[in-house]
Structures are given as C-alpha cells and as structure tokens.
C-alpha cells in the first residue's frame, strides 16, 4: 500500500522489530532441527528442552560416514547426480522449445502451451504406477535414469513457461541484426538469443534442480537399492528401519537443506522471479 511514503523514524524501528520477530517465529522450525542435530540423544529427551546444546555433539554427522546401512553422504551424491541430470535434460529441451513458442506461429501452438500448463498441475500419483511398470519393461527400474527422467517431467513445463516470457521480451530487431550478420535461424538462436535469455535459463536451472532435489515419490518408488537412492528416500527408509532416532534424522535433514540454503544465499533474486513469473501468468 503506502509503499513509497516515507515512514517516521519510530515507525521504521517498530516495523523492523516486528519483522524480526516474525522471522524468528516462522523460521524457528529450521533453527530447531539444526540445534537438535548438535545434541546428544539424551539431551534431546531432556525436559525442559535446551535451546542451545549443553554438550556439542557432532557424532550424528560423522557416524554415517563409517558405518550403517544408510550412508548419508553417498545418498547426498546420488541426489546430486539425479537432480543435476534432471536439470540438464530440462534445460536442453526447454530452452529451444520456449524459443519456438515465443518467436514463431505454428499450427497447434496454443494446444502445446495448454499442454505444458496442464502437466505443471499434474499430481505425481497419476504417473507413478504407469511409469513404474514402464521402467520395469525398459530395464530402467532401479537405476538413476528412472528418477532423472521422471523428475525432468516437472522441470520441463515449468522452464518452458518461464523462458517463453523471457524470449518474448527480446526485441525482433536483435534477431534481425543477427540474420544480417550472417546467422541463420539456428545459429542466431544459439549465438545471440540464448546469451540474452541467460537470467531466465538460470531461473529454470535452479527450479529444475530443486524439483529433483525435493522429490521423494519417484526416488522411493523407482529405485530399490539403498545405495542408489536419493537422500530423501534414504531418510524415509531410515525412519522405517530405525524409527525415530532424532539426533541422526535431524542431521540428515540439515545436510539435505545445505544445497537449498546455498542456492538461496547465492541466487535469491532469481528465486523470487521464478516463484512469481511462472506461477501467475501462463
């Protein structure tokens, strides 16, 4: 509302304090698992709970390196391979597709756009059973590929819809100048347009990665071996086998959040544009 009106000094301070309180309340769950992951199992059960560990315990992180059925760092690596794989497929396919949609008028274009929009709203449940059977037939079941291929089905429509808007805003003159300089439609696209749309490509990369990183259903259903499973499925498996060993579980949670936090710190502006531009306008 009164966004440009200057606030008085006291009001400014009051609002700043309120915002910090809000931040603490809303992000408390994250702080809480972080603190818990540094406590001993005994301290976790202590009443009243401690808001900072009395004894700093990093064993929950280290224990998984050596022993245990669930090696958190290997699962972390699996998740990386799967998410990066899904991200690469999404980008390689979505960049040209969005350019084609933004810059050309071909028959059936509207149907294609609608198709991408609808798939973005699809529940995973619909694809799980048929893909499970199909991957078994294709001998892709229990491989990283099964999960990479299915995670990309979330990244592609999202990326196409976001990038389409990016390409649409590039003026025609730039493209025409490229043709005069001797580019044809394909080289012009690669040499001139892709570099201009780079911020959009970054947004798509981030989100495609995050979709893969956050996936549980595909990783858990299509990959059977614990050694190949992504970290989300590994954690879920761990709960099933060992119950609620909270010191370990919270440590897994923290490790899973690290890449997300890094992405957030380094690329915050891209995230906001991705959340807003893709979601509201088709």
């Amino acid at each position: 509302m009164d966004s440009d009106l200057k606030l008085s000094k006291t009001k400014n301070t009051v609002y700043c304090v309120i915002s910090i309180v809000l931040l603490c309340v809303l992000l408390f769950p994250l702080y809480w698992i972080f603190v818990t992951s540094l406590k001993t199992e005994k301290e976790i059960f202590q009443i009243p709970p401690t808001f900072w560990p009395e004894v700093l315990n990093t064993k929950s992180y280290l224990a998984q390196v050596k022993s245990g059925d669930f090696n958190m760092f290997r699962s972390f690596g699996n998740s990386m391979v799967i998410s990066v794989g899904a991200m690469l497929i999404s980008i390689v396919l979505a960049v040209p597709a969005s350019y084609g949609i933004a810059k050309y008028h071909f028959k059936g274009k509207r149907a294609v756009i609608l198709g991408f929009l609808v798939t973005q709203m699809l529940p995973v449940s619909v694809l799980l059973t048929p893909l499970f059977i199909t991957f078994q037939k294709m001998n892709l079941y229990n491989t990283w590929w099964s999960t990479i291929l299915s995670d990309a089905t979330i990244g592609i429509p999202f990326s196409v819809l976001i990038l389409k808007n990016f390409f649409a805003t590039i003026p025609k003159e730039i493209e025409e100048a490229a043709y005069i300089d001797g580019c044809n439609k394909f080289t012009g696209f690669i040499k001139v347009l892709i570099p201009i749309a780079k911020p959009g490509v970054v947004v798509c990369g981030i989100f495609s990665f995050l979709y893969g990183w956050g996936d549980l259903a595909y990783g858990m259903t299509f990959i059977l071996d614990q050694e190949k499973r992504p970290i989300t499925a590994g954690i879920f498996n761990f709960i099933g086998q060992y119950g609620t060993k909270w010191s370990y579980l919270t440590a897994f949670a923290v490790v899973t959040i690290i890449p997300v936090a890094l992405i957030f710190i380094l690329m915050q502006k891209y995230i906001i544009s991705g959340m807003t531009s893709g979601a509201v306008k088709g």
């Binding site: 700043c16 040209p96 198709g115 059973t129 959040i257 957030f264």
Partner: protein
Amino acid sequence: MKGIKKYFKYDNVGILFVLPALIYMLVFVGYPIIYNFVLSFQDVTVRTLRSNVKEFVGLDNYINLFKQDNILMTSLWNTLFFTVVCILFQFVVGFALAVFFNKNFKFAKPVRGLLLIPWMIPMTITGLMFKFMFSTDVGIINFFLRSLGIIHKNIDWLTNPTTAMFAVIFANFWIGIPFNMILIATGLTTIPKELYESAAIDGAGKFQTFRKITVPLLKPTMESVLILGFIYTFKVYDLVYVMTSGGPVNSTQLLSTYSYKLSFEMFKYSEGAAVANVLFVILFIVSSIYLKFIYTEGEE
C-alpha cells in the same frame, strides 16, 4: 515431401524447436496418463504384473473401491478438508504479511526474502521436522503449549485420529505462507501509487482505501493464488506420507497417499491407478477452470 517442405518454409519452422520437448513430454507424461486409465480398467496386481495378457475388468476397480470400507470417500473428503483449510489459513496470513512487507521500512526486503525459505525446503524434510516437533514426548509444540498453560497433559498429535489432520495441515500451512505472500506482494506492486495518493487527498481512511482500492484491484491476483493454491495443495503427497503415512486409521489418508498405498504397499496396481485417476480428473477440471480464467482475463 513437397508438402513437408512447404510447411516448414514459413513460421512453422518454429515447431522444430518445440518438438524434442514435446516428444519427451508425450512419452513420459502423455503416454503414462493414458496407460493409467487403461490400468484402472484392468486387473493388474503383483501376480499379473509381468504377464503380457491383462484381464479387462471394466469398472470393477472403481466399484470395489467404493465398497471397501469406503476409504476412497474418506480420502476424498480428507483431501478436500485438508486443501480448503490449508489455503484459507495460508491466504489470510500470506496476505497480511504481503501488506506488511509492502511498507517502506529498512528490513522489509531482506526479511521478506528470508521468509521464502520454507517454500524451498524439500517436503520430506519439512515432514520430518514437523513430525519431530509434533511428537508426544520430545515435541517442542507440546512443551510450548504446556508452558503457556494451554494443555496439562501431552497431546499425541500424530497418533490420535482427531489431531493428526490438524498437525499435517499446520505443516503444510507453514510451507504455503511464502507462496501466498510473494504472489500477493507482486500483485500489490502492480497497483498504481497515484490511486492511493488521490484516495488520501479525498480523505479516505485506511480501511476504506483497502476495501475500495486494494481488494478490487487485487482480485485477479487473489483468484489466481487461491486456484493455484488449491491445485498444489490438493496433490500434496510427500509431506503427509512422511508425517503420518495416511494414518492413524486413515484419518489423514489423502487421495495421493491412498493411491500410493494401494499400488506400492498392497501391490494392487489397478486400484492404485483408479484412485490416482479420481485425483487426476478433479485436478484436471480445476486446472481447466483456471486456464480458462487466465486466458479470458489475460492477453491471448
């Protein structure tokens, strides 16, 4: 051949750029959707999974699902309840935060940015986190409530059928706040400042300005946020599966978790597919309404 050449001569060449992505989506999304419908009319269980001939049973799976203690109807009702309560709370809180952070104070932008984090955390982790916080003996939520004197005995949040739904709704509410906040915040920035200035000159009060300017101009944004919120919440799976797996006694069973349970815990693939189809049809209808809505209101 000549026809093909002619087709690509003009703007139609654009389809060549789209084709790879299109084929990919047809193979890994289009085909499975159709296959899922076929599956739901067959009788595929763990025994018949590998055989080539699958028995066609018509609507039997759907009919069976309605007969079996009617868990299908329970899940459908739970999903609706979960979705509506979640989006109501998310929307109200998201709206309030958007308005608050739209004020021009020093911390507004950075703090609002940090509040987006919950939305980015993998749902499995969020589920785990709230499972921990809602647990009976170690749970911090019981501790807070006891300290404030609201309760005197620990509540079995996740193992009691009457409170479990509340706990999963709370967790999803936490995830959804940033999404609602940021979309509404973007909507707020599109309202021309002059309108507020002239309203102030005309002597309109804060509440009046909000009701007469903010709300009507924000209507398209609000509608989008609510429908998208509905779609995204209706299909939530991981969060609930991690927190309760649909239990206790199906009290948090959603269509998505029920479908998973049938297919991958009970190995009744066809019945799982049938439940997924119910979910799909409902979402498809809502998505169509949404798409129609943005296309009539927007440009094309």
